[in-house]
Assembly symmetry: C2
Homo-oligomer: 450 residues x 2
């Protein structure tokens, strides 16, 4: 590189174990000069990661870290079959969807075969944000309305329109507050919310808000364009929706002509274990499903799948063209990920390892009063830390400390939730029982010293 | 593939020349079932393209097509050095920017070294649409204003907020018309516009509108957030901005506190030949530059580069995180593209071949009255067809017919402009003088038979 002595990717590989701390410091310093400050790094002392394999990441000294948070590298970092599919197609053809190509058809066919009818029409894009932005456009074009119901603390993406429907952003630091078109619903949180686990029909209790807000809109002569929700609340704190919630929430929306969007960007593709999609655990079929992160195992790929009726209404004369979306390379990658998921039985694996993990974390909870709640489905888990199990006072700083201490032990976790007191666990699906043992053993020791 | 007999990408490669028409028909039919109708195909009889190399695309029968329109595969389809950089990095690590990695720094450093000060802070994203959407957010956050000046018939991307500032979309079929925040400027078209080539200070004449509209906003107590323009008008018909236009347009915007965005998604990275960026031909320095298409030679990669002041204002507490943006693979690809551009001297090549091409098209214009205008910079050219050189009656249907006939001769072109009467020429930069001769010879024959 002109004017620098940074190691290139390939040199770094060769130099693993030989690289000095100066490179770390120089990269850190160059990043401050060259990259927007609104992008932060993980951990107090950021990691320089140079290699990935399976559920492991390696720093410049060759030290391994167990990756418990990367739900993007879904079938394992640098899965050879995915890398090969991408490399081969890249060398052969990568052009846009104005020409015919079999890959987009093969991928669309395989993807829709994983979805219930009538979810049968695909749009391929490059990120979860592009997917949710398009879903919003589909809903607004189909209904002719603008109002949106969202769950508090939700994050649906970084475009201007998505910031407007992401309470996590518009109510967070630097946020402008809600727009007149955005209507927030309580997080249906059975642990900390207004209604708690044990109440009969918890899902219906929380979903009542949707009917009330729909009625309020109607009183103003308005109707919702859509309801949008993740099938497990992510940034809101890994909150599992209570049974019946989505079905009851969908009803008033649909009755007033709105559409129901489920955002599977974080949890889709077998992660929940019992099902391929999170929404299936709620026994509903949305009108629009959005997918991102895991769909390409790290390759910039995402998708929107919807009904023919909604897709046809969108084809009102205005073209939707996405330069990179649906290209032969992206589709080869998407197809390879689906093939690996099936060949390696990763959904069933996520179910078994996830159940075991949750049970083990439940055992830890018995010994450590700091653990207020253990929850999640499959390999999408949350551990909520509290200072007091009666008042539920959030143990935010302690949670951050646990994550830092675990990192020192070579285990990568992160925090989330409105009080930053939920440890997020969403590893590549190849995560093993041994990995579970390692996390639990280290967490036991770390919590014991708090 | 389950339930299909489509050929896989790799099988297709092996089967080149053996594939029957049935596959073409089956892919076409499956596409209608599986892909949203708002995505259209090129040409009356769409092509099944299975391989790309340099400036050539190959169909399933092995027939070569000279690609004169793909400004995405900038350094040539499947350039081996770019493919190798991507493949190698994919096999090693592909994770997000919450960790340190040298590639993002290497790429950011190299990219900013191609830009004038004070354009020094980078944001990496996955598409030109994500880049322009972010640019709009940067401008609006920095200024606290919402109003935007755009050039008529411009297209800046497919997100909800970008459709709102893209007259090509909001005034086109299915479009809702302009929003209250969008203010349209005339295309500064010296061939067909209100002021024509030959007028002294043509650029200033067109730019006066910006001052007028800024004054009108001010009278309402409003100020513009930004002015946004491509450095050569693309969808508006390959219109070269008259000298002095951008400088004069920027002035009133900046005086009223707004920022100036130049969209280099179509024309950046040496395509204009005389300079690396289109805006340099106008002797201005924008406050924000957006890049897409060619930056990754087809890989989903894009960027926004801005001043420290604007980037810092955006870091108001709200995080900007882009899951795939700036990952080690995307940055390895971006870096390889910049290296190939330099090593192969492609900017200079674009200048020489582009000048030659324009001259040859000028010769054709002397023989064919249908050619009203030949224009462009480097390898971003337009040929405007008219039925009458006095009235400038657009020859829209004829232009479509020329493109179809050229395709039958193995040459891929496309049309654009408000009247669909401009032939667009924007090939991979490896386009040769022989390719020019081939296009000109065939165009001569096709026009001779019209």
């Amino acid at each position: 590189m002109e004017g620098t002595d940074f190691l290139q990717g390939s040199d770094l590989n060769e130099a693993e174990g030989k690289v000095t701390g100066r490179n770390h410091a120089r990269i850190l310093s160059a990043r401050k000069d060259l990259i927007g400050k609104s992008l932060s790094l993980s951990y107090r002392e950021p990691l320089l990661i140079v290699r990935g394999e399976g559920q492991y990441l390696y720093d410049e000294r060759g030290r391994a870290y167990l990756d418990c948070v990367n739900n993007v590298c879904h079938v394992g970092h640098c899965h050879p079959r995915v890398v090969e599919a991408a490399s081969r197609q890249m060398a052969q053809l990568n052009t846009n969807t104005r020409y015919l190509h079999p890959n987009i058809i093969d991928f669309a066919e395989r993807l829709t075969s994983c979805l219930p009818a009538p979810l049968e029409v695909c749009f391929f894009v490059n990120s979860g944000s592009e997917a949710n932005d398009l879903a919003l456009r589909l809903a607004r074009t189909f209904t002719g309305e603008r109002d949106v119901f969202v769950i508090d603390h939700a994050y649906h993406g970084h475009t201007g329109d998505l910031i407007e429907i992401s309470p996590y952003k518009y109510n967070g630091p630097g946020g402008p507050g809600p727009s007149v078109f955005t209507h927030q619903l309580s997080i249906p949180d059975g642990y900390r919310g207004r209604y708690r686990w044990g109440e009969p029909e918890l899902g219906l209790l929380y979903a009542r808000e949707v009917g009330e807000k729909t009625a309020k809109l109607a009183a103003d002569g308005r109707r919702p364009a859509c309801f949008i929700a993740e099938s497990i609340v992510g940034c809101g704190g890994q909150v599992v929706l209570p049974s019946g919630y989505l079905a009851a929430a969908f009803e008033p929306v649909r009755q007033s002509g709105g559409v129901c969007i489920v955002d599977e960007v974080q949890v889709g593709f077998g992660r929940v274990g019992s099902h391929f999609w999170g929404f299936e655990t709620q026994a509903v079929v949305p009108d629009i499903v959005t997918m991102g992160k895991p769909i390409g195992n790290g390759h910039p790929l995402a998708a929107v799948v919807t009904t023919r009726e909604i897709a046809d209404a969108f084809a009102n004369g205005m073209e939707y063209f996405n330069t990179f979306g649906g290209n032969p390379v992206s589709c080869a990658v998407g197809l390879a990920v689906l093939e690996v998921l099936e060949m390696e039985g990763l959904q069933q694996h996520a179910f078994e390892v996830g159940e075991h993990f949750k049970k083990e974390l439940g055992e830890l909870q018995k010994r450590h009063s700091l653990i207020g709640d253990v929850r999640g489905l499959g390999l999408f888990l949350g551990v909520e830390l509290v200072r007091n199990r009666e008042s539920l006072e959030p143990a935010g700083p302690e949670t951050g400390q646990v994550v830092e201490l675990m990192k020192e032990r070579g285990i990568l976790l992160s925090t989330d939730g409105p009080y930053h007191n939920v440890i997020k666990i969403k590893p590549p699906l190849v995560f093993s029982r041994d990995d579970v043992a390692s996390v639990v053993e280290n967490l036991d020791e770390v919590l014991g010293r708090m």
